[in-house]
């Protein structure tokens, strides 16, 4: 019967016509069945194709993840594929934490699949079957362990580029495994090693709930393998794990995998936790102090500062130097002016000098106390952070304009008016002098970062009393010239006598303040973009209007209620835009240029691993030294030519707004401020830290050394 024959033949025909087998045989080994599978019935040329090794564990037996934990070994693959084809590494699905006695291992049990992506070249011969071979090695354990291995093969036809072959029988298992791979996130992770415990603070949108959450480190021997503590805090997740007993050196980056198991559903995320600070996590075995003294050298401020005494001296000197800085100069001039007015009364001058000293010291100590409190709270902030807040930058710009306007004669600052900004720096008497000192320290902060980086970095890694002492020394240094001036009558006598010139001088002194305001607005623009800056500029116009209006009112004998209300409304108008600064702030774009790329710890790590020479420049828009260096030494033809010729990679980190990764990188070099220039030599080796004031010759010499692969000064370099 033909119909009978057909029913018999059709399935047979079907079998014959089926593509050359998408499955290889299951290989049975001790306690584990393995099978090499593909997701589709054919391999598609010109794209990546998913394959995988199915693992079917006997009950209670397990194999291991990339980091095996306390014992065990990760499963390893060796592929044999046709020339031009590439098989990737195992794209690990989420592991389980397996407890054996009091030991913890990371791995897989039950039915699992380890996916691998295989790139098939576009010119692979279409239609012909291709055999891929895999040699797999693993360790399978219950409590006892057995090493296992298998030679596996799969033969599949190659389909034309763009074609969509059907799913294989293994497709669901492969899909499950792929769905269990950790997804990349842009969450941030701040690592804080304290003693033998490691704290990790996760921040970001869409963090999972902590219920059923577990965390694994890809790098072995960093975190201990017992379950860490995981807790939710107000805006993120806190993880605290013991440090591994076999911890030796911190990885440049800790790769964390978060896994959440919820009623059979497994979800996983990957978070990169940069670990820049070597000093913070001294290796178990190293002698105390070694880790702290090996980094940083040759900076303008003396590099790594070893002793408390030296740090105090440097801070004092740095404070004195600050007086010459453009951001302090206007305030200093104001004070000199008021001293000149007091020159006929030495006692008052001395009192003012001491009050100024107290103000400067109080200001620095208060800032240090805030900084230390924040440091304690685990915030990764660095010196100069005041200028990383757009709101504070805008307020400082307002203050500069308001003070400038007063100097220009737009209005008179009187103690009567009692408004904060106005009673600060001008006027006479002890209180005014104290606040001038306070103000000097506030506006000095952008200048302290470049000059006092090493000393401040040192202070921040020290105990609280030492840190406070260093900051206090900085304040003393800042106030020193004024104190000297007020105590030594000879010098005071050199000050010009009060007279009509003072009004002119006062008016001239307004201009540095306006220029400072321009600079601050420019910094603001770099931070929050043009829209928010325009709002702030509008606010400044309203402020000028308010103050001039107020100035005109001062000429009358009694201000009317109406005028007072109008003044208040104008001030309100002036400050209203500040409320929208944050919401209008544009996302900072880290655009790469031809010569440089944006710094990220990952990028630096990749380049270092590839052994390429790297020049790292940590900068900020509000850092004048940084900008001067870029102008003088980092934008010349010679510099870019050297980079091109020697294949040196240039990474630039922008610290204009707060950036935790950069803060940690700076801390790794015992710095808490920018600029920082680091040159990594070719083929690895100790990085060289350049001084904070660059010259073209100095940069060129350092780059030449790095390109030659020598990290040490020229004399130890072997001649070719």
């Amino acid at each position: 019967m033909p119909s009978c024959l057909r029913t018999l033949l059709l399935p047979l025909l079907g079998l014959l016509l089926m593509p050359v087998g998408t499955r290889a045989a299951v290989v049975a080994t001790e306690h584990l069945n393995v099978e090499l599978v593909a997701g589709k019935t054919a391999l598609v040329a010109g794209r990546a194709n998913w394959l995988g090794l199915r693992l079917d564990h006997e009950a209670h037996w397990h194999t291991y993840w990339a980091n095996a934990g306390d014992t065990g070994l990760p499963t390893r693959f060796e592929w044999t594929v046709p020339a031009g084809w590439t098989a990737g590494a195992i794209d690990w699905p989420a592991p389980e934490r397996l407890q054996i006695g009091e030991l913890f291992n990371f791995g897989f049990s039950g039915e699992n699949l380890l996916p691998v992506s295989v790139d098939v070249p576009a010119d692979a011969p279409i239609g012909s079957p291709v055999t891929l071979q895999l040699r797999a090695n693993w360790l399978i354990c219950k409590e006892e362990c057995i090493p296992g291995k298998a030679e596996l093969a799969i033969t599949l036809p190659v389909a034309a580029p763009g074609s969509e072959p059907g799913d294989s029988a293994a497709a669901p298992a492969l899909r499950t495994a792929l769905a269990q791979r950790p997804v990349d996130t842009d969450w941030t992770a701040a690592v804080t090693p304290t003693g033998d415990r490691i704290g990790i603070r996760l921040r970001g949108d869409g963090l999972p709930a902590v219920a059923g959450l577990d965390v694994f480190a890809l790098q072995p021997q960093v975190l201990a393998n017992a379950p860490p503590r995981i807790a939710a805090d107000s805006d993120g997740v806190l993880i605290e794990a013991a440090r591994s007993d076999y911890f030796t050196t911190a990885p440049a980056q800790l790769d964390l995998v978060l896994v959440q198991r919820d009623a059979g559903r497994v979800r996983a995320w990957r978070v990169a936790a940069p670990w820049a600070s070597d000093a913070a996590a001294a290796p178990v075995a190293s002698t105390p102090g070694v880790a702290a003294s090996t980094i940083g050298s040759g900076a303008a401020g003396g590099g790594a500062v070893g002793s408390v005494g030296l740090a105090l001296l440097l801070a004092l000197f740095g404070g004195v130097v600050l007086n010459l800085m453009p951001c302090v100069f206007p305030v200093l001039s104001l004070k000199a002016l008021s001293l000149a007015e007091n020159a006929h009364a030495p006692a008052a001058a001395r009192r003012d000098g001491l009050a100024y000293l107290a103000g400067a010291v109080a200001g620095f100590v208060a800032l240090a106390a805030i900084l230390l409190a924040l440091r304690q709270a685990g915030q990764s902030l660095g010196w100069g952070f005041q200028l990383q807040s757009p709101l504070l930058v805008a307020l400082l710009a307002y203050l500069m304009v308001a003070m400038g306007l007063s100097l220009s004669g737009g209005y008179i600052i009187g103690a009567r008016l009692g408004s904060v900004g106005q009673s600060l720096a001008d006027g006479h008497g002890t209180r005014a002098a104290f606040f001038t000192g306070l103000l000097a320290c506030l506006v000095a902060s952008p200048c302290t970062a470049p000059f006092m980086g090493p000393a401040l970095g040192f202070a921040l890694t020290q105990s609280t009393p030492v840190a406070l002492a260093v900051f206090a020394a900085l304040g003393v240094g800042l106030a020193l010239p004024i104190v000297v001036l007020s105590f030594v009558p000879v010098l005071a006598r050199w000050l010009p006598r009060p007279g009509a010139w003072m009004d002119t001088f006062k008016q001239i002194m307004a201009w540095p303040l306006y220029l400072t305001a321009v600079w601050l607005v420019w910094v603001l623009m770099r931070q929050v973009g043009a829209d928010a800056t325009a709002m702030v500029l509008l606010g400044l116009v309203a402020l000028v209007a308010a103050l001039l209006f107020h100035g005109r009112g001062q000429l009358r004998t009694t201000p009317t209620t109406r005028r007072r209300i109008a003044f208040a409304l104008l001030l309100l108008l002036a400050f209203a835009p500040l409320s929208v600064v944050r919401t209008l702030a544009a996302q900072p774009g880290s655009s790469d240029s031809d010569t440089w790329q944006a710094w990220t710890p990952q990028r630096l790590d990749e380049l270092r691993r590839a052994g390429e020479p790297v020049f790292v420049n940590m900068t900020a828009a509000w850092c004048i030294t940084c900008l001067a260096n870029e102008r003088v030494a980092l934008s010349s033809e010679g510099f870019t030519g050297r980079l091109r010729r020697d294949g040196i990679r240039y990474l630039k980190g922008d610290w204009t707004s707060q950036d935790a990764a950069i803060t940690r990188y700076l801390a790794g070099f015992e710095r808490s401020g920018v600029p920082l220039y680091v040159v990594y030599p070719r083929g690895g080796g100790t990085p060289e830290v350049l001084p904070q004031l660059l010259t073209p010759g100095l940069v060129d010499a350092a780059l030449a050394r790095a390109a030659a692969g020598a990290s040490s000064p020229p004399e130890t370099r072997s001649s070719p």
Partner: protein
């Protein structure tokens, strides 16, 4: 408010769990012990004062131990060390009934089969000594100097595998540490990750 809650969370987290396994630190005195050897004799760490002591956690049925005994690597190092006046103690912390756990007689038999030559084979069926050292794998190695101070802890060598072909390529950390100690030099690699099977401790 945010600051406060962060501080609170940190405080909550800092109440650390007490680990089941103790830990030993390089440069610190090694925990003392008193164990019965395969011949029924009580041995203590104190009796070897003045001599360098090597501790080797072992389990003859573990593939990683087999790697180093099957190739002769472990026995060679034992002979080298004892020949130079070093005390070498093999310790089995397996609980009764677990794979690889031995009684005194079996231990002597195993040593004959392996032609191994430690100074003594110590039995730690309760796991007290293993836990005091934080021994997690077999093999897991420790070197203690004549003053009783721990100088090395970790793996027998630098390549984590169960395959004997890797031995010639690997740095033998214990051999290196013993050579450096006898030369009066600091141990250049005092810590390495231990690798192997898990020590089959008795439930606690």
């Amino acid at each position: 408010m945010k600051l406060l809650s962060s501080l609170l969370a940190a405080a909550v987290l800092s109440v650390a769990a007490t680990p089941l396994m103790a830990k030993v630190e390089i440069g610190q005195p090694a925990p003392s012990f008193s164990l019965t050897d395969s011949n029924g004799k009580t041995r203590t760490l104190e009796e070897f004062k003045g001599k360098t002591v090597v501790l080797e956690w072992t389990n003859a049925e573990c593939p990683f131990v087999k790697k180093h005994y099957g190739s002769g690597n472990m026995q060679a190092q034992q002979k080298e060390a004892t020949g130079a006046g070093v005390v070498w103690l093999a310790i089995n912390s397996g609980a009764p009934g677990k794979q690889g756990q031995v009684e005194g007689g079996d231990a002597n038999e195993q040593m004959q089969i392996d032609r191994s030559a430690p100074t003594a084979y110590l039995l730690d069926p309760t796991g007290t000594t293993g836990r005091a050292y934080g021994a997690s794998t077999t093999p897991h190695m420790y070197v203690i100097d004549g003053q009783g101070v721990l100088r090395y802890k970790g793996g027998i060598d630098s390549i984590q595998s169960a395959d004997a072909v890797d031995i010639p390529k690997a740095t033998q950390y214990v051999r290196q540490a013993l050579a450096e100690l006898s030369a009066g030099k600091p141990v250049s690699v005092p810590v390495s990750p231990p690798y192997g099977c898990s020590v089959k401790y008795a439930a606690q």
